[in-house]
Symmetry: C2
Subunit: 429 residues, 2 copies
């Protein structure tokens, strides 16, 4: 289909507009308003409108306006911009459905092929996240309602080495071994990570398939991990997720509006790899829950294990204080013993060093046979952020009796890209 | 936990109420209003209220009202009644998420054990669908927001034979072999079917786990199949599902408001097995889609294959007529050829006999490696309804090049039950 040829912006714009015209369109007034008209896909829309006039048979008097499909009721038509200093899907409001797909590059996928792959991915991401079918998408109707689809791309150690060994940061490697890990179950590592998220499983499935159609020639699927959180609309907006152990999960998490957020998560030029400035480091751990034995623990025992109440996630130091009152690890009971146990999960996970924090983004998984957490976290350097936290947990965390880490992977999340730019261009340049 | 002892209604009511009190409760004003107070769970709620006064330490002046948790924003708190002439989850508005779980009975699970199992299931279903944690549920918070949870129970040939061979209808057996079937992949048959549906995956996962905790002693999991349709809130209410081939799927489907609906779907006493009156026959077919090759078919080719437009599902005989204009199979084009091909899917699936219809309830599946349709259908007798349809499709359906049936199971869906009754009591009596 000629898609492994370099595609410039105009080509991409034509691709968008042509598809929009052929299918009755998908990007329109509603979507344009959502995107605010500030660059990004809105730019693509403007191009599409302009380009439309050159389509054979175009008659402004009789051709319907673009995009009836993306309007209509329901949130299916909502689109998020894919352009910016950082990729979408990292600090975006967490989606209901998440699919992580790792690829192993084929032996023949060299630096030039990787550059081609990034160009193709760029066009696919721009189209799919905007609700526009990519070139030769045979099911444009499945693309039209993205339901806040995001596609986030990361690269593993093997991919960077193929481009230039000197461009690989020290942390982009398998994590140091933890005593309790039971890896090797087929969910470790990977050369390329594609994370597809949306509030509806249909656009996730369709986007993954369209991306696979293009990625198939460059690599093969190493593993797929699918997760979920409570459905959009089921809970109050902004409610913290519950995991399958019944715990409120993710209460203490740096937020983009925090003053010290950026240096925790975003790699900058001072970090020694300019191609990664604006990117991040992503660690994905597959954590199996031993729910059968966990179910035998009584409620006080569970709350002691975590250090929080089950009902609303309040720290045990102030059980009436609600989810967001900070834990007081110094608090003692009448016997002079710590209220939050020395081996409680939240105590072991907390560092006195404010730089030793991570931005968590976990989802539940349950394939009907095994359940647990797909624990993903973003940071600037896993060796100084995730690793010391996990070492403390590995050493002594009451929760360890009921959780097992069965998969581990580290990826460099590529910096964001603007309209006209190519994802990952800094790496392959 | 003594749960394999017979439990009478009062015991169940106490279980509900006690749990509600211990956990801050889950059934309340909002839920009560939803259920309309007309029998069903509302009855359970009334019992719970009454029973509350006998709880140790109960003081109406200081004990908070039941069920703050089930209120609050979002649809998570919505509950559907489980009681009625028919089980819930059959004609209920289709849920976003569906999990079918089949069990193989353990060798020691005899008629008496099956009766015990049904009693335990009855209590679990009453509690979970109402958003009340079942007895000794260690994660009551996961039960509190059922998001329209339904749990539907069916029995396979093996289970009925264990009770009484004479009670098995002729159709409750593996389907006759179809030429193109590729069964044997681990998704065939089963002694017991539990279908869990909700608009949120979290209550589905939790309910399946709580049910498994109780079913584990009676059987082991034979297979699990999970599927989805477009998310609740993503589309206009009542929109027909799209499958992963991009087709509008399920347009022609008998509806409960149709005058001839009941005799198509519900077994009655005249059918020779009084224990099944009010029940139905469920056929589940796992249909793998060959999407890689399907993607190479052009749009007209795809539309000819089905006999409908891809854009909105209109029959090709009247492509501007919209989804619900009936197909005119006699319509011819200018050359005198049928507009809807003689082997188009919708033509092959349509019978001239109005009794030869089924009530479809299909969902998509996509585990990241394989995708397709979990095609479920209800009817009074599969041998006279599903089988002749599938024989015509098996014989000549253009779609066969891109779909393969890889799993097949038939279950007798138990009749509904009312408050105080036990699911399946007619079988084991």
């Amino acid at each position: 289909m000629g898609k492994d040829q370099p595609a410039d912006v105009d080509q991409q714009a034509r691709r968008l507009s042509r598809r929009a015209l052929l299918t009755g369109g998908a990007v329109g007034a509603g979507l344009g308003a959502l995107l605010g008209g500030a660059g990004g896909v809105a730019g693509g829309y403007a191009l599409a409108e302009r380009d439309r006039a050159s389509e054979p048979g175009y008659d402004p008097a009789t051709t319907p306006a673009l995009n009836p499909a993306a309007e209509g009721p329901g949130f299916g038509g909502e689109a998020l911009p894919c352009h910016g200093a950082h990729q979408a899907g990292i600090t975006t409001v967490p989606a209901t459905h998440v699919r992580h797909i790792a690829y192993t590059l084929r032996p023949e996928t060299d630096r030039d092929a990787i550059a081609r792959m990034f160009r193709i991915l760029t066009g696919d991401i721009e189209a799919l996240t905007a609700g526009v079918a990519p070139l030769a998408d045979p099911e444009p109707e499945l693309a039209e309602r993205p339901a806040r689809l995001t596609i986030t791309v990361g690269v593993g150690p093997g991919l960077v080495d193929r481009v230039d060994r000197a461009k690989r940061p020290a942390w982009l490697a398998p994590l140091p071994a933890f005593t309790l890990d039971k890896l090797g179950g087929g969910f470790d590592g990977g050369d390329l990570l594609i994370t597809v998220q949306a509030d509806d499983q249909l656009p996730v499935a369709h986007a993954a398939r369209m991306l696979h159609r293009d990625l198939d020639r460059f690599g093969e699927v190493a593993w797929v991990q699918q997760g979920f959180r409570q459905a959009r609309g089921a809970e109050a907006a902004g409610a913290t997720m519950r995991n399958l152990m019944g715990q409120v999960d993710g209460t203490v998490n740096p937020k983009p509006e925090d003053a010290d957020f950026d240096p925790l998560i975003w790699i900058d030029t001072a970090d020694g790899q300019p191609w990664l400035a604006g990117g991040s480091a992503f660690v994905l751990r597959r954590i199996r829950m031993e729910l059968d034995t966990w179910d035998r623990v009584d409620r006080p025992g569970r709350e002691q294990t975590i250090g929080r109440t089950l009902s609303d996630g309040a720290a045990l130091s102030d059980p009436k204080g609600g989810e967001h009152t900070p834990a007081d690890f110094a608090a003692k009971n009448a016997l002079g013993l710590p209220i939050i146990s020395s081996a409680a999960h939240i105590r072991r996970a907390t560092s006195t060093d404010p730089n030793e924090r991570i931005v968590r983004r976990a989802v539940n998984y349950d394939d009907g046979h095994e359940a647990g957490l797909l624990f993903g976290c973003f940071q600037r350097d896993p060796l100084t952020q995730f690793v010391p936290i996990q070492q403390r947990l590995d050493e002594a965390d009451l929760l360890n009796e009921w959780v097992t880490h069965t998969g581990s992977a580290v990826f460099a999340i590529l910096p964001g890209f603007r309209s006209g730019e190519t994802l990952g261009a800094g790496l392959t340049a």
